[in-house]
Subunit: 314 residues, 2 copies
């Protein structure tokens, strides 16, 4: 399978640097004390559109040829990828056609509309999303930019871990949440290429543990419709992301919904930053596996900060 | 009246630097677009104990003589000053005795207890607080550190604006919320001393507008028991802070509760940082006075980020 390497990630980084935020790496002495580790959060909640997704979308869209770019881009997404693609398209001046399930969070519908994308709503099933996308594609000729099953998207997502390791080179462990596996794949390739000795851990909600089960069984297992609060992690791996994760991730931890909420609340209260439930999943993994992390220098990609303030779990 | 000058603030800064966080100055292109200004937030929500109060408390406590330090410090406070004094005392290894109204936010009671201070609860009136403090003082011999009517506290609070102006020297306007006036006083002295041409604006909830009315009438007016959501701004000015504010503040704006909530929500959603309602007050003042701020380079001291997540106004 043709997978990105560190050169691809470095090229992506050069390509998107002028358009993305260089996000800070934050630490907290009180959180370190609670977890008994030296924790470094790469804050992609401060990325444009409030999520790492803007990195991959910017990379993919800037690699389209002129003819395809003119026809625009399309995707189906309930969340951050939709907003990311819409803003990246707006920056470049190409049309974006976004298919969103009608039950997508209000904040994300507003964001996508605010970036000037054309939204087509559909029923909240994978079939409806794919059917609607096909109709939109036929009508517009737009290029489908898959949220994670896409070489250039993965290369773009890998730039967050690259920045993290350039800033804190002596991390022992790097961790990220796993949804479709785009962030995890890019993170793992960057981390293992820059430092082959580093441990790479994935984290997943127990209620959406398809990557965990695929990883342990060696066979790609697709998720049912999961019910986790971590609404960015509802999707299943693709063959591409599964292949990368199998080869580059050392272990995957699953966590309870209670731990996710506890971890999210701890970061909000102690660090005064807003992280979305998906971002709390790797921190919940530390809470549930303290002995495996004790005393380590740990970097986590905080995937995003888009939360519906009217539907908080506290 | 003996008031701090820039030398006092500079000395305070040298004294407390090793013990405080150097807080970041954050910007947001989307917030700038909404407000039509160039806004720079000095993020004291990332200060230790989650509020600027730690600066003043650290300065005051480190200026006690040996004999007084041994007997400890005391104060009455429903919030951030209590936590700040408790942690500053813990860092220095001196006892802290905190009088808190029984209806103080849970998060602040927990914080004060967590720093090892002895808490005495009292009825939520100024009389009860002062009476209880007197009893505690008689028993312990502890030195009363007033939250704002104190030269060394004001000098400490002024270090935030000093850092802000050292980082962004060409601000046209500096603004802060006004409660008892400690932050406003320190901010105004720093700003006007560093750049006499800078405009200094205070901001206050309309429902707690004692400073506004004092400022406009020239006479110190004490607040009734105000009902604003900005729970850090319930206190009235003292003679000392009123004197400083009269001489160093160019204007005070009052804002509605709706604007405070709107400003707070905008910062949470757009910048992914947690600011408390009191911190949203100067931003609400921009929302309500757009023409006075249009096109200006504005610095705001974000006073803190301690919010009870179970009692959000959204």
């Amino acid at each position: 399978m043709h997978v990105p390497n560190l050169n691809d990630i470095t090229s992506a980084h050069e390509r998107i640097k002028p358009f993305i935020n260089y996000t800070p790496v934050l630490t907290s002495s009180s959180v370190n004390k609670i977890l008994n580790i030296d924790l470094h959060l790469k804050c992609e909640n401060f990325q444009k559109v409030g999520a790492f997704k803007f990195r991959g979308a910017s990379n993919a869209i800037r690699l389209l040829n002129f003819e395809n770019a003119q026809k625009g881009v399309t995707t189906h997404s309930s969340g951050n990828h939709a907003a990311a693609l819409a803003l990246a398209a707006k920056q470049l001046g190409v049309p974006a056609y976004i298919v969103m399930p009608e039950n997508a969070p209000e904040i994300k519908k507003k964001a996508v509309a605010g970036y000037g994308a054309e939204i087509t709503f559909c029923k909240p099933t994978l079939e409806a999303r794919e059917e609607t996308l096909e109709i939109v594609q036929k009508r517009t000729g737009a290029t489908f930019i898959h949220p994670y099953d896409n070489f250039n998207i993965i290369a773009g997502q890998g730039t967050a871990a690259k920045e993290l390791l350039e800033e804190i080179p002596d991390l022992n462990i790097v961790s990220a949440p796993i949804g479709g596996g785009g962030l995890m794949s890019g993170t793992a390739i960057s981390a293992k290429s820059i430092n082959p000795k580093i441990k790479v851990f994935g984290a997943e909600p127990l209620l959406a543990d398809d990557a965990f089960r695929s990883f342990k069984s060696g066979e790609l297992i697709l998720a049912g419709p999961p019910q986790t609060i971590a609404d960015g992690l509802l999707t299943s791996l693709s063959n591409l992301t599964f292949d990368i994760i199998k080869k580059n991730v050392d272990d995957i931890f699953t966590v309870s919904e209670e731990s996710i909420i506890q971890a999210m609340r701890m970061i909000w209260e102690r660090m005064k930053i807003i992280i979305e439930p998906s971002s709390a999943v790797p921190i919940a993994a530390i809470l549930e596996n303290k002995s495996k992390y004790a005393g380590q220098k740990v970097g986590i990609i905080i995937s995003g900060g888009n939360v519906d303030l009217e539907k908080l779990p506290f």
